[in-house]
Symmetry: C2
Amino acid sequence: MSGVGVLDKAVVILAACVDGASLAELVERTKLPRATAHRLAQALEIHRILVRDQQGRWRPGPRLGELANAAPDVLLSAAAPMLSALRDATGESAQLYLRRADERICVAAAERASGLRDTVPVGAVLPMTAGSAAQVLLAWEPPEAVMPLLPRCRFTGRTLAEVRRRGWAQSVAEREAGVASVSAPIRDRTGRVIAAISVSGPIERLGRRPGDRHAMAVVRAGQRLSGL
Amino acid sequence: MSGVGVLDKAVVILAACVDGASLAELVERTKLPRATAHRLAQALEIHRILVRDQQGRWRPGPRLGELANAAPDVLLSAAAPMLSALRDATGESAQLYLRRADERICVAAAERASGLRDTVPVGAVLPMTAGSAAQVLLAWEPPEAVMPLLPRCRFTGRTLAEVRRRGWAQSVAEREAGVASVSAPIRDRTGRVIAAISVSGPIERLGRRPGDRHAMAVVRAGQRLSGL
DNA sequence: ATACTGTGTCCCATAAAGCGAAACATACCT
DNA sequence: AGGTATGTTTCGCTTTATGGGACACAGTAT
């Protein structure tokens, strides 16, 4: 598929191990012969791209993070002042989310200093089934990646089409009662959505159409963080 | 080396691309024949493990981060409450650092709420040449990885030997005048140091031997975050 | 206790994939 | 204009990767 079969197989194995996999699960998910899966997983383990726990389950190893450091670091470094600026411009808490399978993780945040505010601590794992950031992270994904999730989502395919059209998403009382939010995509150089930038706060302040008020600032921040 | 030559070559290529590389640089750094380096880099690009910019330079692609998400997520998720607990227990700001080549990045922090405090925002990139976290991230590295850096460090090989003996590091006015800090390692299941956890604050409060006061709490927090 | 099934590991004969020299195209420098 | 460096592609050949099957161990059913 890429022209190098061993790499094709290794990537399939890595994808199967994101949430942990035994050898049997690996074979089942990758459809590779057991000897092949075992041999390649061991080789990835030697490189610390996979690690194996006491139960014999493989999951992503530290070397992946080391090799990936440049990409996330650049975004994280650039995001910190941008989130602070967005918080100051909008008067609401701002966050940055990465997608992880069926969840999203907050990797940077700038919290409104006082008063009523939505607090999402860095490291928090939130669902992909609700919230404007989830809509943004899903809207540009291929349909086959989205379809299995949609039955459990608080939004629909139609909502995601609207997100693609507008370039941003808004939600009211989706992830949490009383909270409204606006999100926009952050893209890599190829145009793929790699993260979502958001502001969130109480419905009392943001209203039932928070995009009217804050979409432009959030979209602008997302554009500035794109292409790094 | 791992028994699968293509994977061995791919990892060498990925390591060479962490800070960006043209084809010529890739060939120079990996010692691979040009056709081989080109073919494998293109295959990694097809998988989005590498991306290529307009100048033809390859660097880590978004897929690496996606595949690595689980590993950093587990640590990041677990760290947030642990950093808060450490901040409350010690009364100082607490941070978590990952190593990136010759720098370290703050990926999680819990800041002391009021008064004089050391503020390191999430996303901040700090040098590997000064500070107790730098000592911890270097102390268990192989000598050949450390030697090139030592001439520029504010500490010595002897300091690093002491860190290995004690299991923690302390620094006074190294990274910044007036700031003292204590750090301890966070290890993966194989025992390798993958991150450093720290508390930092003014010398006035922490004293010139901040380890006397806080090493136990920091080491304990590091142990609890190890092996995830 | 025994038989069967599932899982993990390893070996090695074989086939297929990956290798990489060389050719070609383009850009840059003198 | 000529030489050099860089990037891309081809394809005959060699080396590497494949994966069936054997083995060991654990778990389950009878």
